[in-house]
């Protein structure tokens, strides 16, 4: 092997002729097969061995998110939020003396990987609950498996209404797109006085598409008009073509329900093209980076959010400072929602342990054949507790889970002024 590498290096300097063998003997074939089979076997054994090394006295929670790929920042923010929450709980002694362990799986931003990750968490790691994901498309890929296995799933930030429709084991701690789109439209019409609006949506993003639809429906029913409807793809960096077309229609406000990565550039280019109308957006705008990318172009723009890091509420502030200390940088809404989701799960487990200590015990450590049935019942009880959550004090507001397993929460409106976020108001559902 080392000879081979030396040969390679020397070849680079033109000292060696390459001879590529184009045929090989039976012996090589057999060696190859033996190699593959043993590799296969080793890998499979390694997999099962690695996952067998489990501690027996811990409570396992699963998490899946896009830690790599184009939306890696969302997955990492979410992971940070959950890690912070669990660390706080573990430092305080865990629950009934049992510590929590979070098993994180990366789905690379792809739905089929999300499904595989969730299956692994449920079937191999035997987690008692799954937290995830941000993007509704990946949550939708993983949710059916949680539902079928009877494992509660809490999504911190997926806003597609379809997610919780998968089944009664799927919950969310954020508001849903119909609500968000509606309040945005009402804000535009009532507070901003907009009668003509243009929409610039991210066609590859179901969140963006959904939000835009709800906005449009509400605005039109209120009496407004949608004068321009353009789209872009996640990852695009040039929107001048669409903006030029929108400019020609002179809208009063432009609704840009996309992610901050594109919104910053959209704002810049809109101002460069001479568009004076304010931009309005949703919670996808939320990020440390938004102002950095958008700069002064974002002044005078509005967006809805789950929470606001300048909120003087002490609970929010202590979360913000703890996050800053642990990870550096301000927590975005995704981290805050993830934090709330994790805390909600723990609080529900606490309720379970006080109502039914026996059931709670079955959720700790490795399930055995004996405890399998009891475990299923315990998880069902956990689901029931989650379903009646009332006034849970989250950093993203007071969380009430409704009968559709969605969180009924207020939307916060923020305005960007002089490079800072200014709190405009709260809209209650």
């Amino acid at each position: 092997m080392s000879w081979f590498l030396v040969e390679r290096v020397l070849f680079l300097f033109g000292r060696v002729e390459q001879e590529v063998k184009m045929s090989f003997t039976r012996r090589e074939v057999l060696k190859g097969i033996a190699f593959c089979v043993s590799l296969f076997a080793v890998v499979l054994t390694a997999c099962s061995y690695l996952s067998c090394a489990k501690k027996s006295e811990e409570i396992r929670i699963g998490e899946f998110g896009s830690l790599t790929g184009t939306t890696a920042t969302f997955g990492i923010s979410t992971k940070n939020g959950i890690d912070l929450a669990i660390e706080e709980i573990n430092t305080a002694g865990g629950l009934e003396g049992k510590l929590f362990k979070v098993i994180v799986e990366d789905d690379q931003g792809r739905p089929e990987e999300a499904a595989t990750a969730v299956r692994k968490l449920i079937e191999q790691d035997r987690v008692i609950a799954v937290l995830g994901e941000v993007a509704s498309s990946r949550t939708l890929a993983g949710a059916p498996f949680c539902q079928n296995a009877g494992v509660p799933m809490i999504t911190p930030s997926s806003t597609n209404p379809k997610v919780t429709e998968v089944g009664d084991f799927v919950f969310r701690v954020c508001f849903i797109d119909p609500f968000q789109g509606k309040v945005a439209a009402l804000f535009a019409y009532d507070s901003l006085g907009a009668r003509k609006a243009a929409i610039l949506r991210d066609i590859k993003n179901d969140y963006s598409v959904g939000l835009a639809e709800f906005f449009a429906t509400t605005l039109v029913s209120r009496g407004g008009k949608i004068v321009g409807d353009e789209s872009y793809s996640e990852g695009d960096i040039d929107f001048r073509a669409q903006l030029t077309s929108i400019k020609a229609k002179s809208p009063d406000v432009i609704f840009v329900p996309g992610y901050y990565t594109e919104v910053g550039l959209v704002a810049r280019q809109a101002r460069e093209l001479g568009i004076k109308a304010p931009l309005l957006g949703g919670d996808g705008w939320v990020s440390d980076r938004l102002i950095e990318i958008g700069g002064a172009a974002l002044n005078g723009c509005y967006f809805t959010n789950h929470y606001w890091e300048g909120d003087p509420d002490p609970a929010v502030q202590s979360f913000v400072s703890a996050y800053k200390k642990r990870f550096g940088g301000n927590p975005d809404a995704l981290a805050a929602l993830a934090y709330d989701a994790a805390k909600l799960l723990v609080v529900s487990l606490k309720t379970l342990s006080s109502e039914d200590p026996g059931a709670f015990k079955t959720l700790v450590g490795n399930p055995t054949a004996r405890t399998e049935k009891l475990r299923e019942e315990a998880l069902a009880k956990l689901r029931d507790i989650l379903a009646v959550t009332r006034d849970f004090p989250g950093v993203t507001g007071s969380i009430n889970i409704d009968e559709k397993r969605n969180a009924v929460k207020p939307a916060i409106f923020l305005k960007i002024e002089n490079g800072e976020y200014k709190y405009i108001g709260k809209v209650l559902p």
Binding site: L12, V20, S231, S233, D238, R240, A241, R268, E272, R289
Partner: protein, 300 residues
């Protein structure tokens, strides 16, 4: 009318970027008959190197024009080295191999650069510092042209003219043309094909880096996966103009940019990426050699 002119300005700006990247593709293809899939990622690396270089010279904050040019040169230089490294490491061992092998290797290098970029630079997009302060100018009422759009156009034209100069008037340029015509005959004439190929890669990569820097100026969001789509579109532009043909690449790039912007502005923005491929399929069906390309009879 104003809208049309504005769209035209947008299109030409983008077209010059595509042209710069397409030049690298076309030169490499002309010499090696290889589609260098990794070229789009060299463009990305150029943008990132410039990002770090700009921070070194004092951005974000006012930056003198000399420092800005220095940033551009640093980016171009390092990508030239990167291009040479890729060629030596990955493509040279495969010069005698079937073209498909080299093509697959190119895909591998592209994936490698992208994922190394994600690991080294982080997956989140970075904000490219404004080393050219943006200012809008109204040439014709209603049509706004940004200062950086003018910079893009000026730099692109300058670089393309330089390239034409090198290719048509210098010895190395003559050697490049000879090698792309017939590699074996050129080496028989005493031309060191290895050196020429290295030079070609260096120049192509430097141009891609310049494109990356210019894009960073006007669309200041850079991330490790930014090179994929522009890379493919620039390749389509090169094919459109006639692959292997340098003026063809420039024209192809411009047409590509304008077509894309026009389709997005007037038809539908959902098909922005698809337009590139649709154009490609049309041109390959109608005139496979491209607009300026000459057909080469295949010898039996």
């Amino acid at each position: 009318m104003q809208e049309f002119l504005q769209q035209l300005v947008n299109g030409i700006t983008w077209g010059s970027i595509y042209a710069l990247i397409a030049l690298g593709y076309t030169m490499v293809y002309g010499i090696l008959r290889l589609i260098n899939f990794a070229h789009g990622d060299v463009y990305m690396v150029g943008a990132f190197v410039a990002y770090f270089a700009a921070r070194l010279v004092g951005a974000p904050g006012p930056v003198s024009p000399i420092a800005a040019v220095l940033v551009l040169l640093i980016a171009m230089g390092s990508c030239a080295l990167l291009g040479v490294g890729i060629e030596r490491g990955a493509y040279k061992p495969l010069r005698k191999s079937p073209r498909l092998t080299a093509l697959i290797t190119a895909i591998g290098v592209s994936l490698l650069l992208e994922n190394l970029g994600i690991i080294v630079f982080g997956p989140d997009p970075k904000f490219f510092p404004q080393i050219v302060t943006p200012r809008q100018m109204e040439l014709i009422p209603g049509v706004l042209v940004g200062r950086h759009q003018i910079v893009i156009l000026a730099v692109s034209i300058l670089l393309m003219l330089l390239l034409q100069l090198v290719v048509l008037r210098t010895k190395i340029g003559k050697a490049m043309r000879a090698v792309s015509f017939n590699r074996q005959a050129a080496s028989l004439m005493g031309i060191s094909t290895d050196n020429v190929i290295t030079f070609t890669f260096a120049v192509g990569s430097a141009l891609a880096a310049a494109a990356g820097v210019l894009v960073g100026l006007s669309n200041p969001k850079i991330d490790p996966l930014m090179g994929i789509m522009p890379g493919i579109k620039a390749f389509v532009a090169a094919v459109l103009g006639g692959i292997g043909n340098i003026p063809g690449a420039m024209i192809g790039g411009l047409i590509m940019g304008v077509a894309e912007v026009m389709v997005v502005g007037y038809v539908s923005s959902t098909f922005r990426d698809a337009i590139a491929f649709a154009l490609l399929i049309v041109i390959l069906l109608v005139k496979p050699t491209g607009l300026l390309g000459t057909g080469m009879a295949e010898k039996v």
